[in-house]
């Protein structure tokens, strides 16, 4: 009798213990959950026009490019008025430029410049652009640089040889960057028209397109830059191997 009562007491105590443990665990889980809601309801909805005013980025596929046409002849005038003081005119200078050279008259690393040719599928886009504005010429690659094609561009800290033509993998980056950050002393002051014209001019001076090629929102993303094929993604992963 005595024994049975004792056992029962133990069982009851055990049951009580188990139940309270479960209750504690469940409440703590609930509490920690309520501490970290999925959403806090903080912040206000962004208005579409607000986003549009800030969203100035241009992707390589052309997303973000405004409609427009750029001509290098017009770009030349803008460049000479607003850029040349800091970026020079392609000449080799003794005194360092405030900005760096964006193109060089003598192309040091135009190796593989044939890749600057707009691929055949892209010719259509150019043809279209050209016909739209009755412009002559197709995108044309430079073959001039080939003679001095030995040295790989941008290497060994040789800054002067790193130009749009020898180093930049995407033409859309010119539009994006010049529009957001240049001229250095008056960033964000250029109109889309000016940026288009400057983009055409910089591509022409880098021997990526011909003087008369028109750049549009359709053609710009199609341009294959000479150095694109050199770009590889980071493959370092830590560990013993040195890369």
């Amino acid at each position: 009798m005595y024994k049975r009562i004792l056992i029962n007491r133990y069982v009851v105590a055990l049951l009580f213990f188990v139940i309270s443990a479960v209750v504690i665990i469940v409440t703590t889980i609930n509490r920690s959950r309520s501490k970290h809601p999925d959403k806090f309801g903080i912040g206000r909805a962004a208005k579409p026009e607000e986003i549009a005013a800030l969203d100035i980025d241009v992707r390589p596929d052309g997303k973000g490019l405004p409609a427009g046409t750029g001509r290098s002849a017009a770009g030349k005038l803008i460049y000479e008025a607003k850029c040349i003081a800091c970026h020079g005119n392609g000449e080799k200078t003794e005194t360092p430029l405030l900005g760096e050279a964006l193109f060089l008259n003598e192309v040091p690393g135009a190796e593989g410049a044939s890749n600057g040719v707009v691929a055949s599928s892209e010719k259509a886009a150019f043809a279209k652009a050209s016909s739209e504005v009755k412009a002559s010429g197709n995108a044309k690659a430079s073959s001039k640089g080939k003679a001095s094609a030995k040295k790989s561009s941008g290497e060994k800290g040789d800054r002067s040889s790193k130009t749009i033509g020898t180093y930049w993998p995407y033409a859309t980056t010119i539009f994006d960057y010049v529009r957001r950050a240049m001229p250095y002393n008056a960033p964000g002051s250029l109109s889309n028209q000016e940026v288009y014209d400057l983009t055409a001019y910089l591509l022409y001076r880098n021997h990526i397109i011909s003087e008369n090629t028109i750049v549009t929102e359709q053609s710009l993303p199609q341009i294959v830059m000479p150095s694109k094929k050199k770009f590889v993604e980071d493959d370092r992963k830590g560990g013993a191997e040195l890369r």
Partner: protein, 427 residues
């Protein structure tokens, strides 16, 4: 003559102190504020005893020396402190960057005023009351957060380094750690996890990249894999216990622990979720490096393990006898597990002592006790991180990359100690 002159200085300095002492502490502090600060609270903290000769640095010290601090009441409390006037620890600025004086620091926290700077369009002045961060693109609900909004979210604090990926210079013997690799600094950062904000806006599954954009004149932009955003990315609004410094992105910046500094976009104003990288100028024309086979490596985000002996280093004049070799080691891939030191031109290596706790993606202090007998030698350190990566020698790295420098160059730095004890960089 010179002696007489300084005596005169001492005399006046003492006289002024005495007069101020007679006026009483509080009154003295007030006088100092009105006379020297033009309303600037920081300058109100100028010590009373050095006020009279502030224009002449020799007399500043003399004034302090003559005043027996046990015989004159010290200055009164102030609204904000300043380093001792004896200390001259400074960054090394150029037009676009400013380097941390690694050789002059102790421990692993960089004082906020000495955190390195690198910006591409100058430091903007941003009114915190007008500050807004917009998150949009591939999200369920584009949102705008004010600074107060950011501070309402659960906060986190993390101590980590930020290092510019273009952080290796060499070429002459007279180069200090500051000049060689002073574009790394460490702070205790506080802010909100980016993942918290990602949940708030409802980042879509298809989003694989995001663009981070700054509100400075360069409107800095970098594309970042979304996975980093879910992992340990933060929006930091505080640094070492106070608001983030203007040079560091006031009022709020992105912080990507362990990744090249440029990706921790300062003065953050916009985040756009996307399914492709944007190929901005900073991830194509800049912050890419030449690697084997004439290729150009892109999106090399993580900073590999690295270390440098900060004492003895140039311009130390070393004395014979016991020397505590000191330095820092760090890695963007987790923790430093070992630092090895060589005091015999790299022939043999011994483990240095690490100062714990060793933190993730953080500057880690190391020490090694050595007795210099006066023989010419070269000393150096190499870091090993938890992935097993061993900091390479210059030759090893140059061979592996087929390059002589550029971004992400983290070779062992060797200090040459000639018999004279005048430490220089081994070139």
């Amino acid at each position: 003559m010179k002696e007489e002159g300084s005596e005169h200085n001492l005399f006046t300095a003492r006289k002024i102190s005495r007069r101020k002492w007679l006026l009483g502490g509080a009154a003295t502090a007030a006088v100092v504020m009105v006379q020297t600060s033009l309303g600037k609270m920081v300058q109100a903290a100028v010590p009373e005893s050095i006020v009279p000769p502030l224009t002449d640095s020799t007399s500043v010290k003399e004034a302090l020396i003559v005043a027996d601090p046990t015989k004159v009441p010290g200055r009164t409390p102030s609204v904000s402190g300043m380093p001792s006037p004896y200390e001259k620890v400074e960054r090394l600025p150029t037009l676009t960057s400013s380097r941390t004086p690694l050789q002059d620091l102790y421990g692993t926290i960089t004082p906020s005023a000495l955190h390195f700077e690198r910006h591409h369009g100058g430091i903007p002045d941003i009114d915190p009351a007008k500050y807004e961060l917009v998150i949009h693109g591939m999200v369920d609900k584009p949102l705008v957060f004010s600074l107060a909004d950011l501070k309402r979210f659960p906060s986190v604090t993390k101590t980590c380094f930020i290092e510019c990926s273009g952080n290796y210079r060499s070429g002459k013997e007279e180069m200090s750690p500051q000049e060689i690799c002073g574009l790394t600094s460490q702070s205790e950062w506080t802010g909100v996890m980016l993942s918290t904000l990602f949940r708030e806006v409802g980042v879509r599954d298809k989003a694989s990249w995001f663009l981070a954009e700054g509100g400075d004149a360069s409107v800095m932009t970098r594309s970042i894999p979304v996975s980093k955003g879910w992992d340990d990315a933060m929006i930091a609004y505080a640094q070492n216990g106070e608001a983030v410094r203007p040079e560091q992105g006031y009022p709020a910046r992105l912080l990507l622990p362990g990744w090249e500094g440029n990706t921790s976009v300062k003065w953050l104003r916009r985040i756009e979720l996307s399914d492709a990288p944007f190929m901005t100028r900073e991830e194509t024309s800049k912050y890419t490096e030449s690697v084997k086979g004439g290729m150009i490596r892109q999106f090399s985000f993580v900073m590999d393990a690295r270390s440098i002996i900060t004492f003895p280093s140039f311009p130390t004049q070393l004395e014979r006898g016991w020397v505590e070799i000191r330095g820092i080691a760090w890695t963007g891939r987790g923790k430093i597990i070992r630092v090895e030191v060589s005091v015999d031109d790299g022939r043999s290596w011994v483990n240095a002592e690490l100062q714990g706790p060793v933190l993730d993606k953080a500057h880690t202090a190391f020490r090694y006790l050595w007795k210099w007998e006066g023989k010419e030698t070269e000393i150096m350190s190499r870091a090993i991180d938890e992935t097993g990566y061993v900091q390479p020698s210059y030759q090893e790295l140059a061979a592996a990359r087929e390059s002589k420098g550029g971004y992400h160059f983290n070779p062992v730095v060797r200090w040459r100690i000639p018999r004279s004890g005048k430490v220089v960089l081994s070139t």
